[in-house]
């Protein structure tokens, strides 16, 4: 039972449609909660309280108010902008982020498309985000936007290599690219998780993947594409209202994607950490989402702790540190897998 909807409703057009909009129902509340966590975590790290008034208890309604504000804002299209591409770009960015959700197994009973090449597909569709950002930067007709877009492309293309190499090590151990199979290979207690397998090489792989995935979500310390002290807001400088909200939502959707993929590859995905205790299709959903939320918290934590990288440091880290380590790791993990 890979998809409970097809189990109950059979296969057909409406089933496919329902399957494909289901992750959206998760993304919206998750993005609101993550926005609030980000506001509060950043505030407490800087020794302030953050939003305290909106909604009463610790400003819980602040993200709702922000969304209402964004929806009411005037939609401004600069006169000199390339109108067609300017309108298309945020949609393309969100399509790229959302397409990855098709292959994420949220629970043993729910995956949009249980394809054999799940993880390969997720790596491939993230390329559409790069093009959307390039399109936004160029269509805005603004030098900051263009510079931000160029930085994004350089950064994403560079960091795709260590992250793909890290994923490759896990694929060798699991012997499959199907995310459901990779997950099933880590069942049982938490010491069966791949993060603790082939110790310590797969844990190093996880660290490489996590650093590269931070860069792929364009978040600090890898936020030079939107570096607000140099580029105003990078590729989305000119965007306002709902179109800006699309970029914002895509960023949070991306954060969840990379965290979910890290969870699926290294931390057992929908498996319970305690063997058969609290495991099952619905608990699977709970475990995957809570493990991914922990990683999202770590992302927020790092963002507000570390200063921004310079461009040359960024390239140095990707090409001279992460890529050689990932290659050496692949060699060792592969040798171990063959000799075992």
């Amino acid at each position: 039972m890979h998809n409970f909807i097809t189990y109950y409703l059979g296969t057909g057009f409406w089933t496919s449609l329902l399957s494909s909009i289901l992750p959206l129902i998760w993304i919206f509340p998750y993005a609101l909660v993550a926005m609030w966590i980000e506001l509060k975590v950043s505030a407490h790290m800087q020794d302030r309280l953050g939003p305290m008034r909106t909604g009463g208890w610790h400003g819980w309604a602040q993200p709702l108010a922000d969304v209402a504000k964004l929806m009411q804002k005037e939609d401004i299209i600069p006169v000199a902008a390339d109108k067609a591409l300017y309108v298309l770009a945020p949609v393309l960015v969100f399509i790229g982020s959302y397409a990855a959700y098709a292959a994420i197994p949220f629970s043993p009973a729910y995956i949009g498309a249980n394809i054999n090449l799940g993880i390969f597909y997720i790596i491939a569709v993230s390329a559409i985000v790069v093009l959307g950002i390039l399109m936004a930067g160029w269509a805005s007709n603004n030098k900051w936007s263009l510079l931000g877009a160029m930085r994004t492309a350089a950064q994403l293309v560079s960091y795709e290599i260590p992250s793909s190499l890290a994923v490759l090590a896990v694929i060798m151990v699991a012997g499959s690219m199907n995310l459901n199979d990779i997950c099933a290979a880590q069942s049982g207690w938490f010491w069966n998780w791949f993060a603790f397998g082939r110790f310590p090489f797969l844990f190093i792989t996880f660290v490489i993947y996590f650093i590269a995935s931070l860069a792929e979500t364009n978040r600090a310390p890898f936020d030079i594409p939107e570096a607000e002290s140099e580029l105003v807001a990078g590729y989305h400088t000119e965007y306002s209202g709902m179109r800006f909200a699309f970029f914002y939502l895509a960023e949070y959707a991306n954060m969840f994607t990379v965290s979910a993929v890290a969870t699926l590859l290294f931390f057992g995905g929908w498996n319970s950490p305690f063997g058969a205790f609290m495991s099952g299709p619905v608990w699977g959903l709970f475990w995957l989402l809570s493990k991914a939320m922990v990683l999202i918290f770590v992302q927020i934590w790092l963002r507000w702790t570390l200063p921004r990288f310079r461009v040359d440091q960024l390239m140095y880290l990707s090409w001279k540190v992460l890529t050689p380590f990932a290659l050496a790791n692949i060699f060792i993990v592969g040798l171990w897998t063959v000799l075992k």
């Binding site: 390969f120 597909y121 491939a124 390329a127 399109m135 160029w138 160029m150 492309a153």
Partner: protein, 170 residues
């Protein structure tokens, strides 16, 4: 006409219309972005032929690699945006010969091939047999391609470094 046919025609129209856009666009960046939809449509057609590995590789290499590189190159070239792509007719006779030969070959293949028209068949694991074949029967072309890429990579680095040194001397 079932959902499979509708999907096929929809993706075929996307592919052909965007390909026409690539050829006839006056703005070089519009052509590059139209190419995105062409690649995407072709990948979708591969999926409909149950060639999932080729479809995903198409997106990874052509959209994520080549197209990003093209757009990056266009954006780095100063004043490439405002230059109108030349669309006049040049060297008519060789052009007609080449295009005629190409069209003749394509039409010949199109009319003589027996097209298997079957309904949607379930997906099989395609990555495993492709990987096994690349490591056994086609290992020589595979290794040759990787050596070629390595040579190209080293060549690019050498050319880039030489230009940098020349720039430093000036």
């Amino acid at each position: 006409m079932n959902w499979y046919d509708i999907a096929f025609y929809a993706f075929a129209i996307v592919t052909v219309v965007s390909a026409v856009g690539v050829v006839f666009s006056r703005n070089i960046l519009y052509a590059a972005f139209a190419l995105l939809f062409t690649f995407f449509g072709i990948a979708a057609l591969y999926v409909l032929l149950t060639a999932d590995f080729i479809a995903i590789t198409q997106i990874l290499l052509y959209v994520g690699g080549i197209l990003v590189l093209i757009i990056f190159g266009v954006m780095l070239t100063s004043r490439a945006f405002n230059v109108e792509v030349k669309r006049g007719l040049l060297k008519r006779i060789p052009a007609v010969l080449v295009v005629g030969a190409m069209a003749g070959t394509l039409i010949g293949v199109l009319t003589t091939t027996q097209w298997p028209s079957s309904n949607f068949s379930p997906y099989e694991d395609t990555a495993r047999p492709i990987g096994a074949l690349l490591m056994t029967q086609f290992v020589l072309p595979f290794e040759l391609a990787s050596v070629l890429l390595l040579v190209a990579l080293i060549g690019a680095v050498i050319i880039a470094r030489r230009e940098k040194e020349r720039g430093a001397q000036l």
